[in-house]
């Protein structure tokens, strides 16, 4: 009974649990309940990934209406992989949030926080699992609306203006996606993604389809904070409560990257997007500029949360760079980086949140001398920071390794060199914080005597992520296998248009990759 409805459970469970968390009212009860629900969602997504790896695609017809007429939930390796990362981070952040939220959010709003978190989780799972283009827009709005509320819950008033700007940008992005989906429906008369993929093939050079593609790409780019459209992200992540920054930076933008992958590879087809429309070059240029401009911006900020927010935009550049290489290896590097970046940014934001909990500031000056006072927190920050830089034995190294390999496979030396150069900026911005923490003296003020390590409830999820950073940096079998089969699957789903590309201008590498 439960087995049969497995694909629907990660969406339904948090959605039903959200109002219950609100009704529970008391902070501790809502916290326990939300954590339990998120943990269950994690177990279900683990089973989904296992099922998808063994059986291939799971299709679930909502309400018994068969696709393409009804809404279809479709789980394959690609989205089960991202779903696993999202639910895992959500559970860890919820464990962490109990203490952190008590400090940063007014007591009256605690159960509202957990409700909004669960709604956001439901929306994100929905985006990942659904196989229906319009449904994707609805879930995108469900998660976004919950996100705006989450950002605005901090005690600092600047979070309100940040949330408002995020709302304006997010709504424009989502409306662009809606326009794009409308244009696709206008031409093809279907909303099911698999059905769309087949029918779009027949209208390859239709102007309506191309306009729809442009609208969807711009809309999704706003949502995932691709370089020139990222202006909402740094203020939103800086002023949101720490737990929210940790959750959003490691899930929301990653899910939007997944949406872009899904639209390019499943719906429009790589040949159409990359060869006919020439989007590969646009994405590659934007990604490289994002890596350099935003890494540079990260080095000159004084607020450590802003540093990490700009670093997030730069890391998104790496993911988009991976998929703009148009090869299985490149896409795989992008998928691995989605997972790995969730691990490292989650740990970094949690460590910064712990510093805020004790010191009451996240300015880089506030980190002075913390290496001795909060050894475990700062060690977690250091290891996750090394991971962002890409030091061997951490996950950051794994994703950069695959990205550079994918670039070299196409003899694209410039991109490979740029990826490595970008890491130098990470050395600077992580190094500045570590320098303050380990090589500067603790300021001799009254309050600083009482600074001590945070409770285990905050340390445990942080260290789970740090250990995962190291574990997946050494034993890469799970991540690379899942990402590789996801990438291969996405390319195979598109093999029809690839075989057509044989005669076309598509580079030979792609075709070899698919046939091998």
């Amino acid at each position: 009974m439960l087995e049969q409805h497995l694909p629907a459970l990660p969406i339904i469970l948090p959605l039903i649990a959200a109002p219950i968390a609100l009704l529970l009212g008391r902070s501790i009860l809502s916290w326990g309940f939300a954590t339990l629900v998120s943990g269950l969602a994690f177990i279900f997504s683990w089973q989904l990934l296992a099922a998808a790896l063994s059986d291939g695609v799971l299709s679930y017809a909502v309400g018994g209406w068969a696709p393409p007429w009804g809404i279809e939930l479709r789980v394959d390796v690609a989205n089960a992989f991202v779903l696993l990362a999202v639910t895992a981070i959500s559970t860890l952040v919820l464990v962490y949030s109990k203490d952190s939220i008590e400090k940063e959010v007014k007591a009256a709003n605690h159960s509202l926080f957990y409700t909004a978190h669960l709604l956001c989780l439901a929306g994100l799972s929905g985006i990942l699992i659904t196989g229906d283009a319009f449904n994707l827009f609805v879930f995108l709005e469900v998660s976004s609306l919950a996100t705006y509320a989450l950002v605005s819950l901090a005690s600092d008033r600047r979070c309100l203006t940040a949330a408002f700007r995020y709302l304006v940008m997010g709504t424009i992005g989502a409306t662009f996606i809606l326009i794009g989906v409308g244009m696709l429906y206008m031409k093809t008369g279907t909303l099911n993604m698999m059905d769309l993929a087949v029918r779009i093939d027949a209208y390859d050079s239709s102007r309506t389809i191309n306009t729809g593609l442009a609208f969807i790409m711009v809309g999704v780019s706003i949502k995932l904070a691709l370089f020139p459209l990222h202006m909402w992200l740094p203020p939103a992540y800086t002023h949101a409560p720490s737990a929210v920054s940790a959750f959003l930076s490691s899930t929301a933008t990653k899910v939007a990257v997944y949406v872009m992958i899904r639209f390019i590879f499943t719906v429009f087809g790589i040949e159409h997007v990359f060869v006919d429309m020439g989007m590969g070059l646009i994405l590659m240029v934007l990604a490289v500029v994002a890596i350099f401009k935003c890494s540079y911006m990260a080095t000159v900020q004084s607020n450590v949360k802003t540093v990490l927010a700009y670093s997030s935009v730069a890391q998104i550049g790496y993911m988009i760079l991976g998929l703009s290489l148009v090869s299985v290896a490149g896409l795989m590097a992008g998928m691995i980086h989605i997972f790995n970046h969730a691990l490292m940014k989650g740990a970094l934001f949690m460590a910064v949140g712990a510093v805020f909990y004790r010191v009451g500031s996240v300015d880089i000056k506030a980190f002075a001398g913390l290496g001795r006072k909060m050894p475990l927190t700062m060690a977690a920050f250091a290891i996750a920071g090394l991971s962002i830089i890409g030091v061997p034995l951490t996950v950051g190294f794994v994703s950069k390794w695959y990205l550079v390999t994918a670039a070299l496979e196409q003899d694209n030396w410039i991109v490979a060199a740029l990826v490595l150069l970008g890491s130098l900026f990470a050395v600077v911005y992580i190094g500045r914080v570590l320098e303050a923490a380990y090589f500067q003296k603790l300021p001799e003020s009254q309050g600083s005597k009482n600074i001590k390590e945070v409770s285990w409830l905050m340390l445990a999820p942080m260290w789970v992520l740090v250990i995962a950073n190291i574990y997946f940096g050494i034993d890469t079998s799970l991540t690379t296998e899942a990402a590789n089969s996801a990438a291969e699957w996405l390319f195979q789903a598109d093999s029809m248009s690839v075989s057509k590309a044989l005669e076309g201008q598509m580079s030979d590498t792609v075709v070899q990759e698919v046939s091998s």
Binding site: F134, F137, L145, T161, F164, L167, A174, Y185, M186
Partner: protein
């Protein structure tokens, strides 16, 4: 000329879309920004309803003696999108109320100055 007249509903959509977008970008007052956002979203609703129209068909409601109906699916989809739009407006206005309480103003340039002063 015929091209313009035949597609007049789409011209209205494009005009509203651009007007709404311009208001969102240029308005200084946060409530006006939300109004602009609403105009922008409404233009998309009209786009969907236009494309559901079947020439000679009536509204997709069962009536005696009518056999041709407009495509009901865009109507249903846009009903969902309207609900989403209402929810967005509600969240946006709630934020504006809280911004007014925290800063004492809803003019964007004014609260920017207040944060810089801190």
């Amino acid at each position: 000329m015929n091209f313009i007249l035949d597609y007049y509903n789409y011209w209205i959509v494009v005009f509203l879309m651009m007007a709404g977008f311009y208001i969102v970008i240029s308005a200084n007052n946060l409530v006006k920004k939300i109004v602009g956002l609403n105009v922008f979203q409404t233009s998309v609703f009209m786009l969907y309803i236009s494309m559901g129209k079947v020439s000679g068909g009536t509204a997709p409601i069962v009536v005696e003696g009518v056999t041709e109906y407009s495509n009901p699916l865009p109507h249903v989809l846009i009903l969902t999108a309207i609900v989403v739009g209402v929810a967005t407006t509600a969240v946006g206005l709630a934020l504006v109320v809280r911004i007014k309480r925290a800063y004492g103003t809803v003019e964007e340039n004014e609260f920017d100055n207040k944060d810089d002063a801190i």
